[in-house]
């Protein structure tokens, strides 16, 4: 039994999801299935929190402060997605009971990713997650867009998995090991072959976090996939992939940090700048959020490039704030309905201020926060990231980051301008979904009031960052 306590939450999630899949076959009450999945995800999160730090399976699976923090974040993201799903499933033509099950399998894959300390475990987790996501993206089979986005994601995902595996084989070939700890103990620093392996693996992972130039799938998939799925994409997989990326580089290749830092810096700068400019020309809000998430990945990669305690700490803080802001925005997007039809264009927001001043101010504040305007949470996220960059003499990253956030302020503020100053369009339907309202108010409350009592989130960052330094 002893060894199984290490993966107790994962086993619990796997068994119960499988069971729910069976139940669902005969008992097609999607509400109930969804609720049960929600509860079991919450219960898994509790299990994760109370799990002792440990490792096992030949040191290929670890539970430490970092993995526990990230897992809880992932599970929160998944749980929010289920709430979004429950309110929109009928209208969006995704009224099938597999949705919650797929979410929980994806979560399981991500949990394995986060805990993996071995190239193979990493790949298993990654693929379990990716397969679930491919299906989720094309869930609305009747929609051309949804199917197209699923296909695109699948093909490009397969390509990136191939690159990743190729890199893994290089690394194995040049070190003779697959375990992160053993790799770091044995590898030859000057080996170019190993470096090429790292580049390949990084490319594969950069695809998962959607860093430029491996980001191309993101806008299409975000726009095409059903909105709750898009929300899920923005929330959980990003967090998991960032965590895996970080553990892969930090645990196995801490000694050659100077080399792979170049890769991360390149990805970071490219993502920040490209996202800032490309987003300006968008008119669909989901597509806009895709570019926004690419940009945020750029900032997160700054924290990763720092390779020290402050860097990881600021990265964790940024991830948490990013998650909260996205929950707020996506729960609102799901409330944008007119005559029971979903609106996705930015211009549809015009006149929101006239009809719903309260929601207007909350969404405007969320936008200000995404743009990084004090004293909202988004500002502090960026602030800690830039501070750690400057402490580590990564001035270029800090300067580019600030310039990019100035440019990106344009498209966030444009939304505020449309809400407040444009000629009002028709009124939205009543915002009466209680589950969406719940997560919208909680998340925007955190965004707005973060500065009043920031220490819990800062402490979490502190707690998680201890793992590596």
């Amino acid at each position: 039994m002893g060894i199984f306590t290490i993966i107790l939450p994962e086993i619990f999630l796997f068994l119960s999801s499988t069971l729910l899949l069976m139940v669902g076959l005969f008992y097609r009450r999607i509400n109930i299935i969804n609720l049960l999945t929600f509860l079991l995800i919450i219960f898994t999160a509790v299990l994760v929190i109370y799990q002792p730090s440990s490792f096992g399976f030949n040191n290929s699976f670890v539970n430490d402060e970092f993995s526990k923090t990230i897992k809880v974040l992932i599970l929160i993201g998944s749980a929010s997605t289920l709430l979004m799903f429950s309110s929109s499933r009928r209208k969006l033509n995704i009224d099938i009971y597999e949705f919650p099950i797929l979410i929980s399998f994806a979560s399981l894959g991500m949990m394995v990713m986060v805990s993996s300390n071995d190239l193979l475990a990493m790949f298993i987790g990654l693929e379990l997650q990716s397969l679930s996501l491919y299906v989720l993206a094309s869930l609305n089979r009747n929609s051309l867009q949804s199917s197209e986005s699923g296909i695109k994601y699948f093909i490009l995902g397969a390509l990136s998995s191939g690159l990743l595996l190729f890199g893994v084989s290089y690394i194995y070939g040049f070190t003779g090991n697959t375990n992160f700890s053993l790799i770091s103990a044995t590898y030859d620093k000057d080996s170019l072959g190993l470096l090429i392996g790292i580049v390949f693996v990084c490319s594969g992972l950069a695809f998962k976090v959607s860093a430029v130039p491996f980001h191309m799938w993101t806008p299409d998939v975000y726009q095409g996939a059903p909105t709750p799925v898009t929300g899920f994409f923005a929330l959980a997989p990003k967090v998991a992939a960032v965590a895996l990326f970080l553990r892969f580089l930090y645990s196995s290749f801490g000694e050659t940090a100077a080399d792979w830092q170049q890769i991360i810096i390149f990805l970071s700068i490219a993502s920040m700048i490209f996202a800032a400019f490309a987003a300006i020309a968008q008119s669909n809000i989901k597509r806009l959020m895709a570019y926004s998430s690419i940009g945020h990945i750029g900032y997160i990669l700054i924290g990763m490039a720092c390779f020290n305690f402050e860097g990881v700490q600021s990265l964790i803080i940024y991830l948490i704030i990013y998650l909260v802001m996205n929950v707020s925005v996506f729960s609102f997007i799901l409330m944008m309905k007119r005559k029971d039809e979903y609106c996705e264009n930015i211009d549809d927001l015009s006149g929101l201020y006239r009809h719903n001043p309260f929601y207007a101010i909350l969404i405007a504040l969320s936008m200000f926060s995404l743009a990084g305007i004090p004293p909202l949470a988004g500002f502090f996220g960026k602030f800690y990231i830039f501070m750690s960059a400057i402490k580590n003499d990564l001035y270029l990253l800090a300067v580019v980051g600030i310039v990019a956030s100035v440019v990106s302020a344009f498209y966030y503020l444009r939304i505020v301008k449309i809400i407040y100053f444009d000629e009002p369009s028709e009124k939205f339907d009543e915002f009466n979904s209680s589950s969406l309202n719940l997560i919208f108010f909680i998340s925007s409350g955190i965004v707005i009031l973060f500065f009043v009592y920031p220490s819990p989130i800062l402490n979490i960052g502190n707690y998680a960052a201890k793992t590596f330094f």
Partner: protein, 640 residues
């Protein structure tokens, strides 16, 4: 007591500011007029009391209110420093200001924004008091700029009149030239002395007598440089030659303003500055000679222009300019007491003349051209009488105030053997004839002879109300008697005790002044009167004949020696050209084009490009991934 002298005008200003936010109506106007006038009157009475009790047994009062700036070695306090010079200034400022406040109740009775007017007047008074009660150069500068601001606001008080706005801006800009000199002077003082406190500076002045200071590449004696720079400031504020052009235009403001600011008080700030810094000016022969030269030239130059002007207020304005020249050359010759004495008496008779002119303008329905007046003394006997008092005092008729003070200056020029003293004596004496001539010309054209007004209007001429006349009576008392009463304190036997080291006093051995020289100015004044009488009452065709005989000279004088035109070509047009160049080419084309607008349009272009990369074709996406990968690998192969 001293605090209330200073603070009452400030309260008056604040209260009328608050009231000016209300919709103007009878009660509010009345309240602000009464409150501000009352406050200033109390202030004036207290100042006069303070002046009188310290006549023979002077004291120096010094209060530090609070620290203003502390920065490194620089430490500046807000303080009230009251010695003899300040007391004289306080009497002049507060009493003239109080009378002008009261006078304005009548003069501005048809105006729509009375609280604003009264507020500006009080603001001016407060700033002027701050200027004279300073114990350091920075507070002086604060007051200096404060009066400049109030002057600007008041000249442009009728802001709907374009000419008033233009005049206000002109006054402000010309003063800026002087203020720049003053600021540089203060900086130099700080660099040389390490302090800007009067006490420190004046006590240590002699130590730095030999110090040289590098200024734009030249080694100049530090004290001389400081005095030059301070005097440039004084020239601006006191409208001396080259920086005088704003003063006549400033007559666009309401007449009480001209009386208060542009005759009695603010324009004398320059004289005050020179007298205040007399320990410094005394050490620099060069600077003092320069002061004499400029003062004497202005005294003559402004008088010549005054001869031919036709606007009642402009004549008096040039007269002011000229009289300020007298004060300066007295100061330049070291006769600081005489300069202050003339400042003191001039304030009363010039304010009297201006307020009298205001009363005339009020009587003849806002007409200012003296060629369109004449013969109105029948209707305005009291105003006429008061103007006569002011005029005889200005021309220096024996035993009036102007007689004592102007004589003292001309005597000082006669006795002095400093550089330019003969020049000053000659021009000053010549100026006396002209002063008398243009003053009486003004009087005769306005009040006597046959009227040149339209009959309808002429019949409607009326005497001004008593609220305007009573201030005239009070000023007339000053214009007649103050010279006699205070001459021994200012320049006579009691002067050493009276000034109590607040100014530098020179003890000439008492030369005997020939009787003829002593009474020469008075006689020349009478000569001027006779010429004016002959030309404008007796033989009224003569002026036109003289003018046509000396056509170029007449034009030259009428156009004020073409100073405005000269400045237009030398400064204004090139400055406008440079401004246009920077506006259109540098800012509009280069900075906006490549800066905000350029970047903004570039961002849009880039974002269009970035969007077009997103083709939707899956092989493009895969291509992008592979390009990124190969870029990274290539990079590492070549770098490592």
């Amino acid at each position: 007591m001293i605090h209330s002298i200073v603070l009452l005008p400030l309260f008056g200003f604040v209260i009328s500011c608050l009231f000016s936010f209300f919709k103007s109506d009878q009660t509010i106007d009345r309240i602000t007029q009464i409150v501000t006038s009352l406050f200033i009157s109390i202030s004036a009475i207290l100042s006069f009391y303070l002046f009188v009790i310290n006549l023979s047994d002077p004291q120096v009062y010094k209060f530090t209110l609070f620290t203003w700036i502390t920065s490194g070695d620089l430490s500046v306090n807000w303080s009230l420093y009251i010695d003899a010079v300040t007391r004289v200034m306080l009497v002049v400022i507060t009493s003239v200001s109080a009378l002008v406040h009261i006078y304005s109740i009548g003069y501005m009775s048809h105006d729509d924004s009375k609280p604003r007017f009264m507020g500006y007047l009080s603001l001016f008074t407060f700033a002027m008091i701050m200027l004279v009660t300073a114990d350091n150069f920075l507070q002086l500068f604060f007051g200096w700029e404060g009066v400049g601001l109030a002057s600007y606001l008041l000249i442009g008080f009728w802001y709907k009149k374009p000419s008033a706005n233009a005049a206000a801006i002109k006054a402000f800009i010309v003063n800026r030239v002087g203020d720049f000199g003053l600021a540089l002077g203060i900086f130099t003082i700080y660099m040389v002395f390490g302090s800007i406190d009067y006490q420190v500076v004046f006590e240590n002045a002699e130590k730095f007598n030999e110090t040289n200071f590098n200024f734009i590449g030249y080694d100049i004696n530090a004290i001389t440089l400081i005095c030059f720079l301070l005097f440039i400031g004084a020239m601006g504020k006191s409208a001396q030659l080259f920086l005088h052009t704003w003063l006549p235009d400033a007559m666009e403001g309401p007449t009480p303003v001209s009386a208060l600011i542009h005759a009695a008080t603010m324009v004398t700030a320059g004289v005050f500055l020179v007298v205040r810094c007399s320990p410094l000016f005394d050490l620099s022969v060069e600077a003092s000679s320069f002061v004499t030269l400029v003062g004497a030239s202005t005294a003559f130059f402004a008088a010549t222009i005054g001869l031919v002007q036709n606007d009642i207020k402009r004549v008096i304005a040039y007269s002011t300019c000229s009289q300020l020249g007298y004060m300066f050359f007295a100061a330049g010759l070291g006769a600081y007491g005489a300069a202050m004495f003339h400042l003191f008496t001039h304030a009363f008779f010039k304010a009297l003349l201006f307020l009298g002119a205001g009363s005339v303008i009020h009587s003849v329905h806002e007409e200012q051209d003296i060629r369109k007046m004449g013969g109105i003394y029948i209707f305005t006997p009291l105003t006429h009488a008061m103007m006569v008092v002011g005029t005889i005092s200005l021309m220096g008729f024996p035993f009036t105030s102007g007689f004592y003070s102007k004589d003292a200056i001309i005597e000082a020029a006669y006795l002095s053997d400093a550089m330019f003293s003969n020049y000053a004596y000659f021009l000053g004496t010549l100026g006396v004839v002209m002063t008398s001539f243009y003053s009486w010309r003004l009087m005769f054209l306005t009040f006597n002879g046959n009227t040149r007004m339209e009959e309808q209007k002429f019949r409607e001429v009326h005497e001004s109300p008593y609220v305007m006349l009573i201030p005239l009576f009070i000023l007339a008392i000053g214009a007649l008697s103050f010279g006699y009463i205070f001459k021994s304190y200012f320049i006579g036997g009691a002067s050493v005790e009276f000034w109590d080291h607040s100014i530098a006093i020179h003890h000439h051995e008492h030369h005997h002044i020939p009787f003829l020289i002593y009474y020469l100015p008075a006689m020349l004044g009478i000569l001027g009167f006779i010429i004016a009488w002959y030309m404008y009452l007796k033989n009224t065709k003569l002026p036109a004949a003289v003018a046509s005989l000396n056509e170029p000279l007449y034009k030259f004088l009428l156009n004020k020696w073409y100073f405005d035109e000269l400045y237009q070509y030398v400064f204004v047009i090139p400055a406008r050209g440079i401004g246009k160049f920077f506006w259109k080419i540098i800012d509009g084309y280069f900075i906006d084009g490549f800066g905000p607008n350029g970047i903004a349009s570039m961002v849009l272009k880039i974002s269009e490009k970035a969007r077009s990369i997103q083709t939707g074709f899956i092989y493009h996406y895969a291509f992008s991934i592979l390009i990124g990968l190969s870029f990274l690998i290539t990079y590492f192969i070549f770098v490592i």
